[in-house]
């Protein structure tokens, strides 16, 4: 059923792309660019295809998002990406640099009506999905007792085994280290980097770094690193597929992706129409939760999600209650380059 729909969409895309020969943009099409893979298939199916049908617009797809490519398009004035899924720190810097279309009043209003957390918005971007950086553990290794907060996650004596972290500065590493070191959640930002690196140094030999979403599951499931700071949606899906993994939401860090319109996109108004439609349609977001495993942008969508899924929904009451903080991407927009440099040096030592 699912594959049938996908093949329909892709056939449509094929026909349209042939029709739009030469890469030119039709007046009534929007090009959506996301990270790709099955997640993109799910997103397109739940909240682009229904809109396209309603608005009689065609959707063209590209993947993956690449900031250098987006930059080049905006600089040359030949923008082919209409709606792009990006990380919030990029959205903030790019918006400030004038590389993105500002949100019109009607989108901002729709976001207010959808009760979107204003902290997840900026002048150019709305959130498209939420997830958490939480503790993923191997249920074979830690059946009875597993770490329930970052302090325990960093305690290699009580919980022996390697720890997995994302080799990416905005992957929640420093936030987790500071929480583990006793920093109060509301005093996390601006990050005390010296303190965070000191804490990380204490378990450096036990850290295993991963680069992709798949590696984190491989690490936990195989027991190579029975504890991993992971994205909750991936872990939930792996657990459902029968892998010996589970999420612990204690002190989870909530994160989100945003969607933006590159500056100079010809059909920007159409793309903004979609933003309004998306915000006004919690049902589409709820459908996507079941399909992709990511949490919805709007809290109104959470109630529409099947009850058995709700405890694992980022943005849902249960996950939110245990959450320590929302990732502060304004901080990261400002400090990303510096921290990356320092992180590169530290990790190679």
């Amino acid at each position: 059923m699912r594959t049938k729909a996908i093949s329909l969409v892709s056939t449509a895309a094929l026909v349209l792309s042939v029709a739009a020969c030469g890469g030119g943009e039709d007046s009534d099409s929007v090009t959506v660019t996301m990270w790709g893979g099955q997640a993109q298939e799910a997103h397109v199916k739940s909240y682009f295809t229904p809109w396209a049908k309603e608005a009689d617009v065609s959707i063209r797809q590209d993947s993956p998002t690449d900031y250098a490519k987006l930059d080049a398009q905006v600089k040359s004035g030949k923008v082919s990406w209409g709606l792009a899924e990006v990380e919030p720190n990029y959205a903030k810097s790019a918006c400030d640099a004038g590389k993105l279309e500002k949100l019109p009043e009607r989108v901002v209003e729709a976001a207010q009506k959808a009760e979107i957390d204003p902290a997840q918005m900026n002048d150019c971007a709305i959130p498209i999905l939420q997830y958490t950086f939480s503790i993923a553990y191997n249920t074979d290794k830690f059946g009875d007792k597993h770490p329930t907060n970052w302090a325990e996650f960093f305690d290699t004596k009580a919980f022996p085994g390697k720890r997995g972290f994302w080799k990416y500065v905005t992957g929640g590493i420093f936030e987790a280290a500071l929480l583990a070191d006793g920093v109060a959640p509301d005093e996390l930002y601006p990050l005390d980097l010296d303190r965070a690196f000191r804490k990380l140094d204490s378990i450096k030999d036990d850290i295993v770094w991963y680069d992709t979403g798949d590696q984190q599951i491989q690490l936990v499931a195989s027991g190579e690193a029975p504890l991993v700071q992971a994205w909750n949606g991936r872990v939930t899906q792996a657990a459902k597929a029968g892998e010996p993994v589970a999420n612990e939401y204690g002190q989870n860090l909530i994160s989100y992706d945003q969607i933006v319109i590159p500056k100079g996109y010809k059909n920007a108004e159409l793309a903004q129409d979609w933003m309004v439609w998306f915000l006004e349609n919690p049902q589409a977001q709820a459908d996507d939760v079941t399909a992709s495993g990511y949490g919805p942008a709007s809290p109104q969508a959470v109630e529409l999600v099947p009850a058995d899924v709700q405890p694992d929904v980022a943005g849902g009451a249960e996950v939110n209650e245990q959450s320590a903080a929302l990732m502060n991407y304004d901080y990261w927009a400002e400090n990303y380059d510096e921290v990356t440099k320092r992180f590169n040096t530290w990790i190679a030592k």
Partner: protein, 301 residues
Amino acid sequence: MSLAQTTGRGGAGRRSARPSRLRAYFTVDGWGLLILPLVVFLAVIFVVPLGMLIAKSFTDPTLGLDNYREIFAESLYLKILTNTFVIALSVTAVTLLLAYPYAYLMTIATPVWRTVLLLLVLVPFWTSVLVRSFALVLLLRDTGVLNTIAQDVGLISEPFPIMRTMKGVIFGMVQVALPFAVLPIYATMRNIDTRLTKAAQGLGDRPSGAFWRVFVPLSMPGVAAGLLLTFIQALGYYITPAMLGGPKNTMIGELIVQQVSTVLQFGFAAALAVLLLSTTFVLLAIASRFMNLERMLMGRS
């Protein structure tokens, strides 16, 4: 790649005493003209766009040599650069050691076995490097196939760490590089007239002597090609080392990707690329002094 040749041009005006040499340098013959299509093609498609980006290393974010100064101010970048060359050299050495006897066996094998050997080396070539690297991870990690089997048979009691070590990186990269060495060596060996080795034997040389004195030198152009391809290619790898290596095995390719795609420091990334390019050329120039790569490969020094 001789530097003397390039600088010789600069001395042209002063040294009119030796016009014949100068004229010889600027001589173009019919064969020489054949270089033109490729040079023009690369100039338009490759050099000009690249030059525009590399110019950014002097202008972005500030005008001047700041990007280069930054590279030399931080020991990290030079460490990664050294690391890159050490890994590439190790990979080249291991690859050639494996590829030479393999290619030789191909030349003396029966046609059927030759095809089998060729298939063996070519087939994995067609599967994506990415998927192959993933498979190697499943194979090599502490809880992976090899370690599990070795533990089950009682060969080892603790998992033998291969992943996230230099060994893992080399294991994975040689896999990828092997066909690039085997094919040119085999293609050259095939052309060697076996009558020459036979003749050497007929003149009283022992078979091994004929092999080392006649066959090996004649196969050197292929070895030079394989060496050049493996080494240069290995410099640019980053998927395999990123997946099989640890944080201490970072190669410069990965760093440059990070600078372009996530940090968006195009100028700095371009500076790193210039550094890689120039270091490689300097190393190649030194290497061709000692091994005369150019003569092995192009029949001239």
